[in-house]
């Protein structure tokens, strides 16, 4: 008897698996940045339009293909047309690239998590220099949190060419991250199905805790007002629409083959239409939810820094001009400064270089994305809260869950076609194949733990998957609509879920989404051509910032 395909225990596991895969770090560290750059509350308009035009139809398409063909990406596309199994292979290759570098983020999350069990937190203050007379030079020039990230965690080299030595601490954390992923995928859907209950729900618990904590922080409101004030003129900027489209596209994880793999373990009668709508809505809602949390944290951090800056200026002026304690406050500072400048111009001029211009807007304007947001900005805000160890542990556990959830999807995309292939399945068991994949990825991933590893990470992050995915999804849509035939696809859906897809889905699949993807593709290519030599940001230990 042919061995039956393993199935999810119930449809909820499938939904949780998709949510766990789609809701990843991009929701936390990319969406708030885009919101800030492209018009605050106004950005939600292009975002929702793109969700409805591009996100939901493409997600529905992939889930339906997986559920109908009941094979991983290679097998599924081979069944659509034997000439198309290259699409499946492309998906597997892109997933492989992604899993190579993505798990390093989990390694960093582990590193920060393990360091959260100290009092005070290691990124709360600078370490002392050699003769213990003051702070370490590099740290004194920037901030303790940046120092901890660039020096303690990454031990970053000054350039890409200076590869440097392997950081054994990071290598250990990477190995642990891969062992954890292996533990979760070891038994296939049996183990993955149980794990996704945790990886899908825990981040929401932490986000709720952070929301409550964030909203009650002093100065959080400043951040929220700043974020949500719509700057509708940004809607005229084509970059806003392109960013919305790209964000939806990559956030849902289309084209990797993970969604096809997950859906292939479904019962054939599963209502994938409803699930597609639910998953895409939850994904977008989580992005907005996470950006509310992020902006209250931003607001808190900006207000804290602004008020420290003000107190320093007040102290300086009180000492220099022998003013009475408490006569200078934040409110009358501007007026008193003007008066002092007029009354004692010379002394004021001497003091001028030390007086910093404190501005709340300048603090809020520091829009950050990516690892900078997740590891520097958040840890800076956490160190100023009460009981920072608790919040730190919660936050990094959440990052870990988000990262592991996405890794489960990626490895499923690689393993499902491999275990489907009769050749491999007859020679090697599932555990051995998973183990080999994890092992190979871990060894290759050691590149990212070297001193120049973060630069390699940036390269992979920016270029490994972007164009390839657009091409893959474009070919997928065209293949299903025109090669397989949209009528045949309609009938298959009717068989599976009991009703035909409405005209809306068909129009989106056949015309809107392919056109959108083609325009995104053209935009990216022209952008690459126009940029010329590609550049990267390097950390200069002798100066203050990335240059």
């Amino acid at each position: 008897m042919e061995k039956s395909r393993p199935l999810w225990d119930n449809p909820l596991q499938f939904v949780f698996a998709c949510i766990s895969y789609a809701v990843g770090l991009g929701n936390v560290w990319r969406f708030p940045y885009l919101c800030q750059m492209y018009g605050g509350g106004g950005f939600l308009i292009p975002y929702f339009i793109m969700l409805v035009v591009e996100g939901m139809p493409l997600l529905y398409l992939e889930l339906a293909v997986g559920q109908r063909m009941r094979r991983g990406s290679i097998g599924a596309w081979k069944m659509i047309s034997p000439y198309l199994c290259g699409v499946g292979v492309a998906s597997v290759v892109v997933s492989f690239f992604l899993s190579m570098y993505y798990n390093v983020i989990n390694a960093w999350a582990f590193w920060y998590l393990f360091h959260s069990f100290q009092d005070p937190l290691p990124w709360a203050s600078c370490p002392l220099n050699g003769n213990r007379t003051g702070d370490e030079a590099e740290c004194a020039r920037t901030s303790p949190t940046q120092y901890f990230w660039y020096r303690r965690t990454l031990n970053i080299a000054p350039s890409l060419e200076a590869a440097g030595a392997l950081q054994w601490e990071q290598a250990l954390c990477l190995t642990l991250a891969w062992l954890l992923v292996y533990l979760c995928i070891l038994r296939g859907t049996e183990s993955t199905g149980k794990v996704v209950y945790v990886t899908a729900s825990l981040p929401y618990c932490v986000l709720i805790i952070y929301l409550i904590r964030g909203l009650t922080l002093h100065g959080a409101v400043n951040g929220l007002i700043y974020m949500f004030t719509p700057k509708l003129e940004q809607l005229a900027n084509p970059k806003a629409w392109i960013s919305a489209a790209t964000q939806i596209f990559f956030s849902l994880g289309l084209g990797f083959g993970s969604l096809i793999a997950f859906a292939s373990y479904n019962e054939p009668s599963n209502n994938c239409e409803r699930h597609a709508v639910v998953v895409s809505l939850i994904n977008s809602a989580t992005s907005i939810f996470a950006s509310i949390v992020t902006f209250s944290i931003y607001g808190f951090k900006a207000t804290f820094n602004y008020e420290s800056c003000m107190s320093k200026v007040i102290l300086l002026l009180t000492n220099a001009f022998d003013l009475e304690e408490g006569s200078l406050t934040a409110d009358n500072l501007g007026a008193v400064q003007g008066h002092l400048q007029a009354a004692h111009p010379q002394r004021y001029a001497e003091l001028q270089p030390q007086l910093k211009n404190c501005s709340l807007e300048a603090e809020l304007d520091t829009a950050v994305q990516g690892t900078g947001l997740a590891f520097i900005v958040y840890s800076e805000a956490i160190k100023n809260m009460e009981v920072p160890q608790l919040y730190s542990v919660l936050y990094f556990v959440m990052l870990l869950m988000l990262g592991i959830g996405s890794m489960l999807g990626n490895t499923a995309a690689i393993l499902t076609p491999l275990t489907d292939s009769k050749f491999i399945a007859s020679h090697l068991s599932k555990e051995v194949v998973s183990g080999l994949v994890c092992f190979i990825n871990c060894i290759i991933g050691l590149i990212f733990t070297m001193e120049a590893g973060n630069y390699w990470f940036d390269i992979f992050n920016d270029y490994a998957a972007t164009l390839s995915l657009l091409l893959i999804v474009l070919v997928e849509t065209i293949a299903v609509c025109y090669v397989y035939g949209i009528r045949r696809f309609e009938k298959d859906l009717h068989t599976m879920i009991g009703h035909k897809p409405s005209w809306y889905w068909k129009v989106m699949w056949a015309f809107a989404s392919p056109l959108l993807i083609i325009s995104l593709f053209i935009f990216y290519i022209t952008d690459y051509i126009l940029t010329g030599t590609l550049q990267y940001q390097a950390w200069d230990a002798a100066q203050v910032n990335d240059d």
């Binding site: 582990f110 100290q118 002392l128 003769n131 533990l183 009668s269 068989t495």
Partner: protein, 182 residues
């Protein structure tokens, strides 16, 4: 001025700040002050009473003060910020560091748990497969003659048909093309 000198002398001798040979024979007159200013500040040198006019090397005095900064401060009920020795910058106490870094301990715990989980799953998987193989080899002995094939209905494997759902018969729906359209 005299009281400052006597204070210096008392401090230097009481706290054993100078080498043993010197402190027994040190007198107030060995501490000479100069450049006394309005703020409580003074320069001082420490003479070596064994060799009459020469002074104790500045580096020795500096080292002695640096080592015992805390005690000097508390003698005057002052702190590093309120009592300043020029040329001797205050050293900050380093943070307390445990012998094994804490992160390694937590790492070790998580690593052991993960490896234990992996080993447990692999072992139970192998055991289950052995049991299945034993069972299937027993049933194979019984059904040696029968060919076990995938049950096929009208060219479509039964497995892909959803026999549980019941309300849609995939066999007929998939063969729509056989019927002429109206």
């Amino acid at each position: 001025m005299l009281s400052s000198a006597s204070q210096m002398h008392r401090m230097l001798s009481k706290y054993g700040l100078v080498s043993k040979q010197l402190w027994e024979i040190m007198l107030i007159s060995n501490v000479l002050l100069c450049n006394v200013t309005d703020r409580v500040s003074f320069w001082f040198v420490v003479t070596d009473s064994a060799k009459n006019v020469t002074t104790v090397a500045g580096s020795e005095v500096e080292a002695a003060i640096r080592m015992n900064r805390n005690r000097i401060n508390s003698a005057f009920l002052l702190s590093d910020k309120t009592l300043q020795f020029l040329k001797i910058s205050s050293t900050i106490a380093p943070p307390v560091e445990p012998s094994t870094p804490v992160w390694l301990i937590v790492f070790g715990v998580v690593l052991c748990l993960t490896v234990a989980g992996i080993v447990f799953l692999i072992v139970t998987g192998i055991q289950r497969r052995k049991k299945q193989n034993k069972e299937s080899s027993e049933t194979e002995d019984l059904e040696e003659k029968c060919e076990v094939t995938v049950t096929i209905e009208n060219g479509i494997p039964c497995e892909t048909l959803d026999l549980k759902a019941g309300h849609i018969n995939g066999v007929y729906a998939a063969d729509d093309e056989r019927f002429a359209s109206l």
